[in-house]
């Protein structure tokens, strides 16, 4: 075990009375002792995490290696039990007759992510910049900007479905007869619009938090140096707000990769232009084929983990706030930072 000393500086106030046994030892607790105590105190959390995250994840992965028997027996009943099929569920996804549907869904999911998140970043940062400036009713504006985010997604999907009806407001304003909910490109854009409306405020609010940390002196210095608004934005504001923005973008990306309720409620099932990977998993589970459903869910999980790792390692998304870490510590901490990402990913894990 590593022999790094943990130096605890004794502070002026005396330790409180009635201390637990560990405190009665010398103020400099041995690394072994504090490690044991840490493990003990953390174990309830780990048990809960194990039950709520790791168990469904592993259970789904296990489920994806089995299949239910096909067909009925002579008396017309479905056979019971599971058959071990190994990775056949996965190879069928990639090479079977549903491969087209899988790649279409994969493409849709990725395209939704790229399009939606890009537009949301632009709109969100613009919102944040506007909200940052002092104005009348600042508190009200900031609270009301979160209203779309507060509405449950399924409800907002119904609202937008109503707006995007053929006789609805969207067509009335545009003076067109676009069939928004029918198959085609327009369904894709309908989902992007609804999603952006709902979640741009989320990026806006997180970016606003990042903006407020920047001290005013930096801007003053920039003004003294003669920088115009555009240069100030690109070379001062954006780099300084990057940590907050990256965290917001990471969460949004993970959310859109898992998107299910918006296209499902707004456009409907089995529509190729908006079908996402989650919808595929749901469709298989709906038809009581839990093995393939778990396989789709596991693939989605792996996709999301890869994207999260890319964000954390390459782009340096600072998920648990350790911006001042040294490079060596960043490497050691990679394991820890992917755990919170796993918390976020876990809801895409099990399908049962």
């Amino acid at each position: 075990m590593d022999r790094k000393e943990i130096v605890v500086t004794t502070t002026a106030p005396a330790p409180p009375a009635g201390p637990p046994k560990a405190r009665k030892q010398s103020p400099q607790m041995s690394p072994q002792g504090s490690g044991k105590l840490a493990a003990l105190l953390l174990s309830p959390t780990f048990v809960v995490l194990g039950l709520v995250i790791a168990y469904p994840l592993i259970s789904a992965m296990r489920e994806s290696l089995y299949r239910k028997p096909e067909g009925v027996d002579e008396s017309g009943f479905v056979q019971e039990g599971d058959i071990w099929v190994g990775i056949k569920n996965y190879t069928d996804i990639f090479k079977g007759d549903t491969a087209d549907r899988f790649w279409n869904a994969f493409g849709n999911t990725s395209l939704f992510t790229l399009t939606s998140v890009s537009i949301e970043i632009v709109i969100g940062v613009a919102m944040a910049l506007i909200m940052h400036h002092a104005m009348r009713g600042k508190g009200l504006v900031r609270a009301s900007i979160l209203v779309p985010w507060a509405i449950p997604t399924a409800v907002s999907a119904l609202l937008w479905k109503w707006i995007f009806q053929t006789d609805g407001i969207a067509n009335a304003i545009l003076n067109q007869q676009i069939l928004w909910t029918a198959e085609g490109q327009q369904a894709f854009w309908a989902v992007v619009i609804a999603d952006t409306w709902k979640t741009a405020p989320f990026i806006g609010l997180l970016t606003l938090a990042g903006l407020q940390i920047i001290s005013g002196e930096v801007y003053e210095a920039a003004k003294v140096d003669g920088a115009n608004a555009w240069r100030t934005f690109w070379q001062i504001t954006l780099p300084l707000v990057k940590p907050a923005l990256l965290v917001a973008v990471l969460f949004r990306v993970l959310d859109v990769l898992r998107m299910f309720d918006l296209p499902f409620v707004m456009i409907g099932e089995h529509k190729h232009s908006v079908e996402t990977l989650s919808m595929l998993a749901y469709d298989e589970a709906f038809n009581v084929r839990y093995g393939p459903a778990a396989a789709y869910a596991t693939l989605l999980f792996i996709y999301v983990v890869i994207v999260a790792l890319v964000f954390v390692k390459l782009l340096g998304a600072d998920v648990i706030g350790e911006a001042k870490a040294k490079k060596k510590a960043v490497k050691e901490r990679m394991v820890l930072t992917t755990l919170p990402a796993a918390v976020v990913i876990s809801s895409s894990g099990a399908v049962r």
């Binding site: 493990a39 592993i58 027996d73 069939l179 198959e183 394991v335």
Partner: protein, 434 residues
């Protein structure tokens, strides 16, 4: 301890917890189910539950209260499931997967009988406990799987052709019996100034179960079938092509408005009530709604119903409706059986008809003079149900309907030719319906 060591320790604890929990899973080898030789006796008396979709008329609750008053030791509690059929099925399937006794009596859609029976989620019912001859035979047929009774028909449903009687009278045309008559009538009516902006016809063409119904009716109207008498798929025929082409041509020529591709039942009903459609294929529930005097309908007293049109003569509708079954995992199955007998008695079916205007399953109610006076469409409805053809009976009905929707929608939107659509559908159905 370093951060890294601590992290690995944590991961090991997590994995251990997960493995411990995962250890409890069984994975049995597949076993064939027991061959049922005659319905097993249903036993168990006591309180039970009734799982059903939204009770819009509140009549189910009234009947449940009546039952509870007479049977204080065998009380029923209504468990309301989601409004959509898919939502209800999902809840019932999940309940069956965990073998829970939470639901006793299940309100099944007619197309789920095969699936629920083959998966042993519902029990066989004793045929001698019900006078099945008093019920409409097509409805009874939907409740059977391999000639054994698994459910009792309670509500039935058949599609009818709603039409604007006032406009047809103006041009002196009777209700059309064939598609050709329908197109001719439409041309005549559109010459009238007040009908210039109307569309001819709409049904339910969105990509959902309603599309399967409309596709089946189109194919049937031309004399084709989706699944033949022996239960084998036979949809790649000239007759089916004629039927599907009727709809495809309707979209191409504008007789069916473009936006009808997004229509479910309510969208079409609203369009018909607003006076945008001359002819509309719809279920009977819309009759009462279109007659309401609260301002929601522009066509009160101006419409009537007729049997669906065919190619050479009248067409046939797709059979809809609901049956009551008993969950295999419930206790108190004997009480549930008595409750189903109670619900399907003549008196209670009459009360259902009066409250919801949904088609009853007892033949006698269609011949009652007083009911005919109150529901003038009863005769058309009875004819529709008696000539109705059920949708394909398959254990994997979800896949069957998905395949039909995929190909029909492709043909209607023009992304597939009708030949390709029917050929692909035949191939897919041959895999699914064995």
């Amino acid at each position: 301890m370093t951060v890294r060591a601590r992290a690995w320790r944590g991961a090991v604890v997590l994995a251990a917890a997960a493995l411990l929990a995962a250890c409890g899973n069984d994975s049995g080898t597949p076993s064939s189910g027991n061959s049922g030789g005659g319905a097993p006796a249903l036993d168990g008396t006591g309180d039970f539950t009734f799982a059903t979709g939204k009770d819009t008329s509140n009549n189910m609750q009234k009947l449940a209260d009546k039952w509870n008053a007479d049977n204080p030791n065998e009380k029923v509690r209504i468990v309301e499931l989601p409004e959509s059929a898919d939502g209800q099925r999902q809840q019932m399937v999940q309940n069956a997967q965990v073998k829970s006794d939470a639901f006793t009596v299940l309100n099944l859609d007619v197309v789920w009988t095969a699936e629920f029976a083959a998966n042993k989620w519902v029990v066989e019912l004793p045929q001698d406990q019900f006078k099945l001859s008093e019920f409409l035979q097509p409805a009874v047929d939907t409740a059977k799987y391999r000639d054994k009774l698994y459910a009792v028909p309670v509500y039935s449903d058949g599609g009818m052709l709603y039409y604007r009687k006032d406009l047809l009278d103006k041009v002196g045309v009777q209700a059309p019996k064939t598609w050709a008559d329908l197109t001719a009538a439409c041309l005549k009516v559109k010459a009238l100034p007040e009908a210039a902006n109307m569309s001819c016809y709409a049904g339910q063409f969105e990509k959902y179960e309603g599309l399967t119904v409309n596709f089946a009716e189109a194919v049937q109207s031309a004399g084709g079938v989706i699944v033949n008498k022996d239960g084998k798929p036979d949809v790649n025929t000239a007759a089916a092509k004629t039927g599907l082409d009727t709809l495809v041509q309707g979209f191409k020529t504008g007789a069916i408005p473009q936006k009808a591709i997004t229509y479910k039942e309510e969208d079409g009903r609203r369009a018909f009530q607003a006076g945008e459609l001359l002819f509309h294929r719809q279920w009977p529930y819309a009759y009462a709604k279109a007659q309401q005097n609260d301002g929601s309908s522009q066509i009160v007293g101006k419409f009537d119903v007729a049997p669906l049109p065919g190619v050479t003569g009248p067409g046939s509708s797709s059979l809809g409706g609901h049956n009551f079954a008993i969950s295999a995992f419930a206790k108190n199955k004997a009480s549930a059986l008595k409750f189903i007998q109670f619900f399907t008695s003549e008196e209670n079916e009459r009360s259902n008809l009066l409250a919801t205007s949904q088609a009853p399953t007892r033949t006698s109610l269609y011949e009652d003079a007083q009911l005919i006076k109150q529901f003038p469409y009863l005769a058309t409805l009875k004819a529709s149900i008696l000539s109705a053809v059920p949708r394909p009976k398959a254990v994997k009905y979800g896949d069957v309907t998905a395949a039909i929707q995929e190909n029909a929608y492709g043909a209607l939107t023009g992304t597939k030719t009708t030949d390709a659509a029917l050929k692909d559908l035949q191939t897919k159905l041959e895999e699914l319906v064995k």
